[in-house]
């Protein structure tokens, strides 16, 4: 019987990872094969008077070998075949051919017909049943005496320095304290220290690396090209390792710290080799930035997955989680080791909680409720609610800061609620539950695990975003997921059909040229019957075709998207605009995201517009937005009709143009430059003024967001269609005003105001355009008169 939940979780983790080990018999067989190769090559080199040696490198040397999930669990063993010749005496091609010849002789000397020999780009591979030996040709490195070697590069151009022995020593040093404890641990477990081989007992760091490698294997199962090298994972894990009381804790700490250990030197990601600092293990990321992006994405997913396991209640949920991370077989073996069958557990639901300990066993008092239970919370105390809130938040990988920002509350206050230091008000608990994808009744029933919807929208968005996505953005994306869920629910309550996944009426665009973008912008304007003039209110124009949400994704655009596009399977096209930006930038982002929706949605359901996004696609969307909002023809017409050429160097003229088009001052400046209506010098000079101050001086109202005040009316967050749905639902008595207020995160007062508003007429938009045009004409005349 377990006495501690963490201990049991750790045992399940350890058992899962141990199942990835190769067996004793396999290990001994592999060693005998390696010995045979080693002895044969030694004899071969004796004959050629060169001399040399063969030794283990890589995971076999580090003690982190795991079964290879991509090769039917075949075992990889990496060897160095070092021929003791100076590099001046032999070319790279000759060295490789020489080792190949020696191995060919070795293969021919095997009467049983095994192994077979295959040539790779840099090494030779000996294939046996169930495993293979990769033999890397090498020379001693005279400049790095002792254990340094020189290896061939893929193109046989220059020798590369390497030192697998010193690397293994460095790796081992990271766990020195644990290594020293090993004899005591062995003795405590009744094992003979002298008789137990070193590889048979693994340190926590070795287990951690095995776990990460397997998680990585599964994560990149369909994308082997981008899979990060094992050495990158091993190096970062060892650097991040600071010890810990349990394997689970170490995994959490390592996955939380790993990404931050990738250095960024002038835009180039660097993972330096700890024993050869001049070598960048992530060198390939420079030319293939997608690899870096995918690495960060994976590291974050690993963190979430390992954190998620720790919050599971019920051994079945834990085993399910382990199955996702390490594979079904590993989870089944872990379950059996702990006396539990994953599959039996799934069938019977007879998993129970040990009285007083919280540990999970197969029998005992108080059956754990199946995950479909949503019933009466019974006597759950507020402290349990506090714990459930923390657990639910951590399960979805949201920081306290992200959750607090999303709800507009203080992070410290949330911390008080989660620790039980303050009693959480039930309305706030319900709001938090909704943000976490669950509900108050589930939290109180101890089921914070089962999401209310199977659609993991925020997970999809997180994965599509660059890894630098900040906490505020993560919290806001959870809100977005919640609002989409509410939209679907309300439509269901009202019996309104949902349109399903959105489909663009246009052909997809693959290129990123400004000309293609301008053509696309004109196509969309024609499609929306916008004519050639100003769009008017782009939020409203777009809102008829796309749901537009304005959410506080964060002010730091290094970590927050300016916007994103998402094609929801039931609702169709949605656009989220970061409301923590100036109004002009929000307007530009609407048009930018429309480009993604109408011209990039054929191949992508999610596009997050943020630094680190796909450059070509983003460039296209920017050029599209410029032409969509400020059409070149209209800009030239206005300039020729309303102002002499030289007045374009006057910032006031640019402000008038800005107001005419309803865009930012910066957008007009850029469009004037792009249309060659101003030169680069004028473009730079125009940047010297404060457009908001100038606009105010010219009599224009200035949006608070342009002055850094991003607080908006709560209902501004929602697309018109969502508000219409809420109005209809309240009007029909399907929901109460209080329910509407809770759903929209506002007060009942504001719901009353919403209900009192007259419905929006489509013609208003055109009236608005007329007014703006008249205003511009009036301003222009005033400008001329002065």
């Amino acid at each position: 019987m377990y006495t501690d939940l963490d201990q049991q979780l750790d045992e399940l983790f350890r058992s899962s990872i141990e199942s990835l080990d190769i067996s004793d018999a396999e290990y001994r067989l592999a060693v005998s094969r390696y010995d045979a190769v080693s002895q044969f090559l030694a004899g071969y080199w004796d004959h050629s008077s060169a001399g040399g040696g063969v030794y283990l490198q890589g995971s076999m040397r580090l003690g982190t070998v795991t079964r290879n999930i991509h090769r039917d669990d075949e075992i990889d063993i990496d060897l160095v075949a070092r021929r003791d010749s100076p590099k001046t005496s032999i070319s790279q091609a000759e060295l490789k051919a020489d080792i190949g010849h020696g191995l060919d002789l070795f293969v021919r000397s095997r009467p049983e017909g095994l192994p077979s020999l295959e040539e790779g780009r840099r090494c030779w591979t000996l294939h046996y049943t169930g495993f293979h030996l990769d033999v890397l040709p090498a020379l001693p490195d005279a400049d790095d005496g002792g254990t340094g070697i020189l290896i061939t590069d893929a193109g046989f151009r220059g020798w590369l320095a390497s030192n697998p022995i010193r690397y293994a020593d460095w790796f081992r040093a990271a766990t020195r304290a644990e290594q020293l404890e090993k004899p005591k641990v062995l003795a405590k477990n009744g094992m003979d220290v002298a008789e137990t081989p070193d590889w048979a007992v693994k340190t926590t760091l070795q287990r951690t690396v095995q776990a990460l490698k397997r998680h990585c294997d599964i994560y990149f199962a369909d994308d082997l090209v981008d899979r990060p090298a094992s050495m990158i994972i091993t190096t970062l894990a060892a650097r991040a390792y600071r010890g810990g009381s349990s394997l689970h804790e170490v995994l959490l700490n390592v996955t939380s710290a790993m990404s931050a250990l990738v250095e960024n030197e002038n835009g180039v990601y660097v993972v330096s080799n700890p024993v050869q600092p001049e070598e960048n293990l992530a060198d390939r990321w420079k030319d293939e930035p997608r690899r870096a992006h995918r690495f960060f994405e994976w590291a974050e997913q690993a963190r979430l997955d390992f954190a998620g396991i720790g919050t599971q209640r019920g051994v079945d949920a834990v085993l399910e989680g382990l199955a996702r991370i390490f594979g079904e077989r590993a989870a089944e073996l872990a379950g059996r080791t702990s006396g539990i069958s994953l599959f039996q557990a799934r069938r019977s639901g007879r998993l129970a909680m040990a009285a007083g300990t919280g540990a999970l066993v197969t029998e005992g008092r108080g059956v754990v409720r199946p995950h479909t239970f949503h019933g009466d919370p019974g006597s759950s105390s507020m402290s349990e609610l506090a714990e459930a809130l923390r657990s639910a938040r951590e399960r979805i990988g949201l920081s306290q800061e992200g959750a607090a920002d999303a709800l507009g509350i203080n992070r410290v206050l949330l911390s008080y609620y989660e620790t039980g230091r303050r009693m959480v008000p039930l309305p706030t608990a319900a709001t938090l539950a909704r943000l976490y994808g669950t509900s108050l009744d589930r939290l109180l029933a101890g089921d914070e695990v089962t999401p209310v919807s199977p659609l993991d929208v925020s997970g999809v968005l997180y994965r599509a975003a660059p890894p630098t996505l900040g906490d505020s953005a993560r919290g806001a994306l959870r809100l977005f997921e919640q609002y989409l869920r509410d939209y679907v629910e309300l439509a269901g309550e009202l019996g309104r059909p949902l349109q399903g996944k959105g489909q663009s009426p246009f052909s997809p665009v693959r290129g990123s040229s400004a000309r293609d973008a301008a053509d696309a912008a004109r196509q969309l304007r024609r499609h929306l019957n916008l004519g050639g003039g100003p769009v008017g209110d782009p939020f409203r124009v777009a809102d008829e075709h796309v749901l537009i949400w304005r959410l506080p994704l964060g002010e730091d655009l290094e970590t927050a998207p300016s916007g994103l596009f998402y094609n929801h399977p039931q609702i169709g096209f949605s656009i989220v605009i970061n409301s923590n930006m100036t109004l002009g930038r929000q307007v530009f982002t609407v048009a930018h995201e429309l480009a993604h929706a109408f011209f990039h949605s054929h191949g992508a359901d999610v596009i997050v517009s943020m630094y680190g996004g796909e450059l070509g696609r983003e460039r296209f969307a920017d050029a599209f937005a410029g032409e969509f909002l400020v059409p070149g023809d209209e800009l030239r017409r206005l300039v020729s009709e309303h102002s002499p050429w030289d007045s374009l160097s006057n910032p006031s003229t640019v402000v008038h143009l800005q107001r005419h088009f309803g865009v930012s001052y910066a957008t007009v400046r850029v469009r004037l430059l792009q249309e060659r209506l101003i030169d680069r010098t004028t473009f730079e000079t125009l940047a010297q003024v404060s457009p908001s101050r100038l606009a105010r001086a010219l009599g224009y109202p200035v949006d608070p967001a342009d002055m850094g005040d991003f607080a908006r009316h709560p209902l501004d967050r929602f697309p018109g269609r969502m508000l219409l749905l809420v109005r209809a639902a309240v009007h029909d008595g399907v929901i109460t005003p209080g329910d509407a207020a809770e759903t929209l995160g506002t007060s009942t007062d504001e719901i009353r105001q919403l209900l009192a508003q007259p419905p929006i007429e489509p013609d208003e938009q055109h009236i608005q355009q007329d007014l703006e045009e008249a205003a511009f004409a009036s301003r222009s005349n005033q400008g001329r008169a002065s």
Binding site: H374, P377, P425, P427, S439, I735, T736
Partner: protein
């Protein structure tokens, strides 16, 4: 008597919190969540107050709407700053929490139960629900302007519904407010474009 956010708001914006407290026995009871236990806590009355503050910010100073909004904010600020004896914050116990959950849960069982109570809407908001949970378990009268909340409360307790109108009548009955003034102020709450209370006539 336990007040929901709407009725508490009504007496606050009219500046009659003290009178209302006196009329209901000395203290106006509010559920945790309708009122915060601490000044930094999110609660419904603060949300209402902040919403009206937005009206203040959006209205031209000196305009009628501006003046009404400022007056309402002042009244709500006073309520938010009050403690015992005028205002008593009530925390839900396990039983009240259980009722809250049943009044808000979207499970089929909970919805069927609410239909049996006579409710038509899909659920109550958590603020109304926790207020009813507390009122039911502690035997308080319950004042609300939410028709569905009153349906649920009456079905659970058999007690009569109490709205803002009833509270104002109580003030009149106890001689705390002149009836003409109360009628006028009630119509103001019902019809004014800032307050939009609606509900039955006096």
């Amino acid at each position: 008597m336990l007040f929901d956010a709407s009725v508490a708001r009504s007496v606050a914006v009219l500046g009659w919190v003290d009178e209302a407290a006196q009329a209901v026995g000395g203290s106006l009871r509010l559920a945790h969540g309708i009122l915060g236990a601490h000044s930094d806590e999110l609660c419904e009355l603060r949300q209402i107050r902040d919403g009206i503050q937005r009206e203040v910010d959006a209205s031209p100073p000196g305009s009628g709407r501006y003046s009404k909004a400022v007056s309402a904010v002042l009244g709500l600020d006073r309520l938010l700053g009050l403690g015992p004896p005028q205002v008593t914050l009530v925390m839900p116990d396990a039983q009240a929490t259980a009722i809250t959950v049943r009044l808000t849960s979207m499970t089929a069982d909970a919805r069927a139960w609410r239909r049996e109570l006579g409710m038509r809407a899909r659920r109550l908001d958590t603020g109304e629900a926790v207020s009813i949970g507390i009122a039911v378990t502690q035997g308080f009268d319950f004042a609300s302007d939410d028709g569905q909340a009153l349906v649920a409360y009456s079905a659970l307790t058999g007690r009569a519904e109490v709205r803002t109108r009833n509270i104002l009548k109580l003030l009149v009955d106890q001689g705390l407010i002149d009836e003409a003034v109360a009628r006028d102020r009630y119509r103001f709450l019902q019809e004014d474009d800032l307050h939009l209370l609606g509900g039955p006539d006096w």
